[in-house]
């Protein structure tokens, strides 16, 4: 047999995201499986739409292909279990024309232990745990779920967030409790939250120190006419830099105060929405909140249910907030403790 270049082989088989993968060998699989006590044959679920089986073994294969260390495996196992929950509606997202990805926000001591990064540059390249854990999830959505563009996915643009989508919060510099603690988990719990969102859109504001003005600018970015948040009930992630969050704290605002204020400020009046974007009268009538599409003064909030807004503190020092809009289909965020 001619010598096979394993890197080329995997790329030719459509078993990667377009970048080389670590070749899965039995020896590497054994090493990866040392990252968990769970049985390799344990079934976690099947990945839609083609229903490939996510077992501890097949998850470990993809984790090693993605470049994970064995100690990352518990996070990958926890993440794939969450994205397979019914309410997350992965099936719809796998096929959708839109371009969203399951963003994992990992809180708790284990995230710190394995070096998940929530600071300077956290949505971008350069951090092995973030890059490889999110990539492992994506490789499974492709290889086990069949959601390749042109095959199982009708996505128009996809999103760079489909290479990898895993962050933690900047717990060292956050002035507030974490997202998971705000939901009632303890500081010691290792928790993953997943929300189906677009890539971050940055709101740079080095002008306003008054939270009212700062949050007004952020809320404007949350209320883009073309975002699905204005036309359906959808998730949104707002990641404030420690500096922006600290400006709010100095004015006496707790995390819950900022969350509430953003829910109040973000939105548009019917008159604006009728001017373009994705407005349809029947869409407005189908919203899960009471609106009057014939009243130009009626205010339609971007956040239809406060549970849909995931406010975190991440990124490095500097005056910027990252906003990830949500998806039109019915995908409710999911969160839970994962086993380490």
């Amino acid at each position: 047999m001619d010598a096979v270049d394993e890197f080329e082989f995997f790329l030719e088989k459509d078993w990667s995201d377009g970048l080389p993968v670590v070749t899965p060998t039995e020896a590497r699989l054994v090493r990866m499986l040392s990252g968990t006590c769970r049985s390799p044959d344990e079934l976690i679920g099947t990945v839609p739409p083609v229903r490939g089986r996510a077992t501890v073994r097949s998850v470990a294969i993809h984790a090693l292909m993605a470049g994970c260390k064995p100690e990352y495996l518990p996070v990958v196992l926890g993440g794939i279990a969450l994205v397979l929950r019914d309410e997350f509606n992965l099936n719809g997202v796998q096929g959708t024309m839109h371009g969203v990805a399951p963003l994992m926000i990992v809180n708790g001591p284990y995230a710190r232990k394995i070096g998940l990064h929530g600071g300077n540059g956290c949505f971008g390249p350069g951090f092995r745990a973030n890059a490889s854990i999110g990539r492992a999830i994506r490789l499974m959505l492709f290889n086990l779920g069949g959601a390749m563009p042109g095959a199982g996915s009708a996505t128009i643009f996809a999103t760079p967030l489909r290479y990898t989508a895993c962050v933690t919060e900047n717990s060292e510099h956050s002035p507030w409790e974490s997202l998971s603690v705000s939901r009632g988990y303890s500081l010691e719990d290792d928790v993953i939250t997943c929300a189906m969102v677009e890539s971050p859109r940055l709101t740079f504001d080095d002008t306003n120190r008054d939270p009212q003005r700062l949050l007004t600018g952020i809320a404007d970015s949350m209320s883009a006419m073309g975002s699905w948040n204005m036309h359906t009930r959808a998730n949104m992630v707002v990641a404030m830099s420690p500096e922006h969050a600290t400006l709010c704290v100095r004015a006496g605002m707790a995390r819950a105060d900022v969350h509430r204020r953003l829910c109040e400020l973000a939105g548009r009046k019917v008159r604006d929405l009728k001017g373009g974007g994705n407005w349809r009268r029947e869409r407005a009538l189908a919203l899960p909140i009471k609106v009057d599409p014939d009243d130009d003064e009626c205010f339609i909030p971007a956040i239809k249910n406060p549970q849909d807004l995931h406010l975190i503190v991440a990124g490095g020092w500097g005056p910027c907030t990252a906003i990830c809009h949500g998806w039109a289909g019915v995908s409710r965020s999911v969160h839970g403790i994962y086993e380490v």
Partner: protein, 96 residues
């Protein structure tokens, strides 16, 4: 290494069996037509227009309409089984 190479096939066997297409009827005269509305906006309008045309031009006898819970969610097996038992031919709305 079932592949004879020194690495593991990362894909897993798919669950479920391949689905074969049903036989197509030669004509629609006297047949029962099922419409599966996926609840995207205007899907009902398009399906109703189709049904009217098929009744008028091809003699469809009766039309049965069913709805998915949401366009992005799978139709439950029970709904599909019920339709399969009642209709001769079905049209499903797709996309939006």
């Amino acid at each position: 290494m079932a592949n004879g190479l020194q690495f593991i096939d990362p894909t897993e066997p798919r669950s479920g069996n391949p689905v074969n297409s049903a036989a197509r009827p030669a004509d629609l005269a006297g047949k029962v037509l099922g419409l599966l509305d996926n609840r995207k906006e205007q899907a009902d309008v398009i399906l109703r227009t189709l049904a009217d045309a098929l009744r008028e031009r091809y003699g469809v006898a009766r039309v049965v309409v069913r709805h998915k819970e949401h366009h992005s969610k799978l139709a439950p097996d029970a709904l599909l089984d019920e339709m399969a038992g009642e209709v001769d031919i079905a049209i499903a709305a797709l996309g939006g």
